[in-house]
C-alpha cells in the first residue's frame, strides 16, 4: 500500500537518507530499525509530509503523495505517532480523541457554526468513536483526566488513540515502546497486534526494543547511516551479518 521509491534527503551536505526504497503492505506488521541517527524518524517525516525529500517518490495506494502537506497526508489515511509524547496536553483524554476526529467525519465550518442537524449527527458519530477507541486502548477510566496528568505508558497509548481517531489505513508508530517497562511493553504489543488484526490497519513501526520488534514485526527494514542495508523476516534479520555489524553491540541482536 505504501511504496518508498529511492528517497534521498539531504540536510545541507549531509545525507540523512540515501536512495531508500521499500514496500509496506497492509497484511504484515513492518518494523524499521537501525542505530541512532540512521534516518528512521527522518523517513517518517518524509512520508508524512513534514519534510520534502530531495529526491525520490512516495507512492500510496498507487498515488504519488510526494510533497503533500502533513494534514493532506493524514487526510488520505496515514496516521502517525511521535517519538516524544505529543498530545493535546491541556485537554481531557476524551477531548483529545474528539479533536483528533476532526476530519472523520468532517463537517464544514459553516455547517458546524450554524449547528445544523447533520453537524449534530456527526458529533454523535464522534461520541461513539471516542467510546470505541477508549475501550480498545483501555483508557476508559481516564476519560476525564487531563492528558498531561496521565502516566507515561498511558500517554503513549493516548498517542496511538489520537492517530486511530483519524481512521487511518496505515499507522506509522515512532518508538511506541520507549520508556516502558516490560509489562507495559507487553500490553502495548497486544494492542498493536489487535489494531492490526481487528481493524486491518497496516503498521510500520520504528523501535529500538529488539525483543518487541522481533516479537511483533513480520517484516523488518534496517537502516544504517541513511541507507537501507537489509530487509527480511525477523529470523533473516537476526542472522544477517551486515546487520549485526551495523549494530556493533553484537550481543543485543544475538541475544534475542
Amino acid at each position: 500500500m505504501l511504496e518508498i521509491r529511492g528517497i534521498t534527503k539531504l540536510f545541507g551536505g549531509l545525507a540523512a537518507l540515501r536512495e531508500v526504497s521499500a514496500l509496506v503492505e497492509r497484511e504484515k506488521i513492518f518494523g524499521l530499525i537501525g542505530p541512532n541517527g540512521a534516518g528512521k524518524t527522518t523517513l517518517f517525516n518524509v512520508i508524512t509530509g513534514f519534510y520534502r525529500p530531495t529526491q525520490g517518490e512516495i507512492i500510496y495506494n498507487s498515488k504519488n503523495i510526494t510533497g503533500l502537506k502533513p494534514f493532506e497526508v493524514a487526510t488520505i489515511g496515514i496516521g502517525r505517532t511521535y517519538q516524544q509524547n505529543n498530545l493535546f496536553y491541556e485537554f481531557t483524554v476524551e477531548r483529545n480523541i474528539f479533536l483528533a476526529s476532526h476530519m472523520r467525519p468532517k463537517s464544514g465550518i459553516v455547517e458546524d457554526l450554524v449547528g445544523t442537524s447533520s453537524a449534530k449527527k456527526k458529533r454523535e458519530v464522534i461520541e461513539h468513536k471516542i467510546e470505541e477507541i477508549l475501550t480498545l486502548l483501555e483508557l476508559t477510566s481516564f476519560r476525564n483526566e487531563l492528558a498531561k496528568n496521565l502516566p507515561h505508558g498511558f500517554q503513549r497509548m493516548l498517542g496511538i488513540g489520537i492517530a486511530l481517531a483519524t481512521e487511518p489505513e496505515l499507522l506509522l508508530l515512532d518508538e511506541p515502546f520507549s520508556g516502558m517497562n516490560a509489562a507495559e511493553t507487553e500490553s502495548m504489543m497486544g494492542h498493536i497486534k489487535r489494531i492490526h488484526k481487528e481493524k486491518s490497519i497496516g503498521v510500520l513501526l520504528v523501535e529500538h526494543d529488539m525483543k518487541a520488534v522481533m516479537g511483533l514485526c513480520e517484516r523488518i527494514i534496517v537502516l544504517n547511516f541513511g541507507e537501507k542495508i537489509a530487509e527480511g523476516s525477523a529470523e533473516e534479520i537476526r542472522e544477517n551479518p551486515i546487520v549485526i555489524e551495523a549494530y556493533l553491540g553484537v550481543e543485543d541482536v544475538v541475544q534475542y
Binding site: A74, F98, I109, L113
Partner: protein, 324 residues
C-alpha cells in the same frame, strides 16, 4: 434560578438609556464598541497569534465608511457592509502572508502593517484627509422608522452589534473549528497529523476577527461623525490587548468582563481631580502587571481561584484537626 441575576443585568443594560444619563450611556456605547473589537482580537489570540494590526482594521472600516458616505454620497448601511467586506478582504491578504509566521514574528509583522496603514492615512491627503482625518460623516439613514441622531439610537445600534458579535463567538467557541484553534499554539504539528489545515483555519479566524474590527470601525465613524489617524494608533491595540488579557482568554466572557471593568475604571479615573491623560496607560500597565503576577487566568478565572483557595484552606484546617 441561576440565570435570574443575568436576566436582571440584561434588562438593566437594555433599559439603561431610559435613565437619561447621557454620560454613562456614552460610556456603555464605547464599551460595546470595544467589546466587538476585542472579541475579534481574542479569536485569533486563541490560536496563539497576537494581531497588533487589529486597530488598523478598525480604522479601515471607519475610513471606508467615511469615504463612501462623504465622498461618494453612499447610504450608510451599504457603506457599512462594504466597509466590513473590504476589511475582510484586506485581512485575507495580510493573513495569507503573515500567518506563516508565529509568536513574536507575527506580532511584529502585524505591527508593521498597522504602522504602514496609519502612515498611508496621514500621507495620502486627497483620499484620507491627512492628519485632519475625515469630518462631517453623516448619521446613518433611518431604519424601520428609527432616526439616528440622539445617543439612545446609537446605544441600540451598538447593543445589537455587540449581541451579534457575542452570538458569533458563542457559536465558534462550541464549534469544532473553534476548539481546533486552541490546539495550534503548542501542538500545531500534531494538529496537522490529525488532518487539520492549520493555516487555513488561522486565516479564517483572522478574517472573522478583523471583520469585527471593521464593523466596530464603521460604527465609530457614524457615532463620532469623524475618523482620523489619531483614533487608530498602536496604543489602542495595546489597550485592547490589556482588556483581553485582564479578562482572561479561556472564554469570550472574559473579554466582556475585561473590557467593561477596565473602561469603567478608566472613566472613573477621569473624574479624579488633577487628572492627567498619562494616568490612563499607567493604570492599564499596572493592571496588566498585577493580573500577570496574581491572576494569570484573568478575571474570568477568579471564581475558580477563590474556590480553590477555600479548598486549600479547608484542607489545612482538616490537617490541623487531624493533627490534634
Amino acid at each position: 434560578m441561576k440565570s435570574v441575576p443575568w436576566v436582571i443585568l440584561l434588562v438593566g443594560i437594555v433599559l439603561f438609556p431610559l435613565t437619561g444619563d447621557i454620560h454613562w450611556t456614552r460610556v456603555l456605547i464605547e464599551i460595546f464598541m470595544w467589546i466587538t473589537v476585542s472579541l475579534g482580537f481574542r479569536l485569533i489570540l486563541t490560536a496563539g497569534q497576537i494581531n497588533l494590526a487589529q486597530i488598523a482594521f478598525m480604522g479601515l472600516g471607519g475610513y471606508a465608511v467615511a469615504i463612501l458616505t462623504t465622498k461618494l454620497g453612499l447610504n450608510y448601511w451599504p457603506s457599512l457592509l462594504i466597509a466590513v467586506g473590504s476589511t475582510a478582504v484586506f485581512a485575507l491578504g495580510i493573513g495569507y502572508i503573515s500567518l506563516r509566521t508565529k509568536g513574536i514574528h507575527f506580532a511584529l509583522a502585524t505591527f508593521a502593517v498597522a504602522e504602514i496603514v496609519r502612515l498611508i492615512w496621514i500621507e495620502w491627503k486627497s483620499l484620507f484627509g491627512g492628519v485632519g482625518g475625515i469630518p462631517n460623516i453623516p448619521p446613518p439613514n433611518s431604519v424601520l422608522g428609527i432616526q439616528f441622531g440622539n445617543v439612545i439610537s446609537y446605544y441600540y445600534f451598538a447593543f445589537i452589534m455587540v449581541i451579534f458579535s457575542m452570538a458569533v463567538m458563542y457559536r465558534i467557541e462550541r464549534s469544532r473549528f473553534g476548539m481546533a484553534l486552541l490546539i495550534f499554539e503548542h501542538t500545531e504539528d500534531l494538529a496537522q497529523s490529525v488532518g487539520i489545515d492549520c493555516f487555513r483555519y488561522k486565516n479564517i479566524a483572522f478574517v472573522i476577527g478583523s471583520s469585527f474590527a471593521g464593523l466596530a470601525g464603521g460604527f465609530f465613524a457614524a457615532f463620532f461623525h469623524y475618523v482620523g489617524s489619531e483614533d487608530f494608533t498602536i496604543h489602542q491595540t495595546f489597550y485592547v490587548l490589556i482588556y483581553v488579557l485582564t479578562g482572561g482568554i479561556q472564554s469570550f466572557y472574559g473579554t466582556l468582563l475585561g473590557v467593561s471593568s477596565l473602561i469603567i475604571c478608566l472613566k472613573m479615573i477621569h473624574h479624579i481631580p488633577g487628572f492627567n491623560p498619562v494616568w490612563e496607560p499607567l493604570f492599564l500597565g499596572c493592571t496588566l502587571l498585577a493580573v500577570m503576577k496574581f491572576l494569570p487566568g484573568g478575571l474570568i478565572s477568579l471564581p475558580g481561584r477563590l474556590s480553590l483557595e477555600r479548598f486549600k484552606l479547608d484542607l489545612k484546617r482538616g490537617e490541623r484537626i487531624a493533627g490534634d
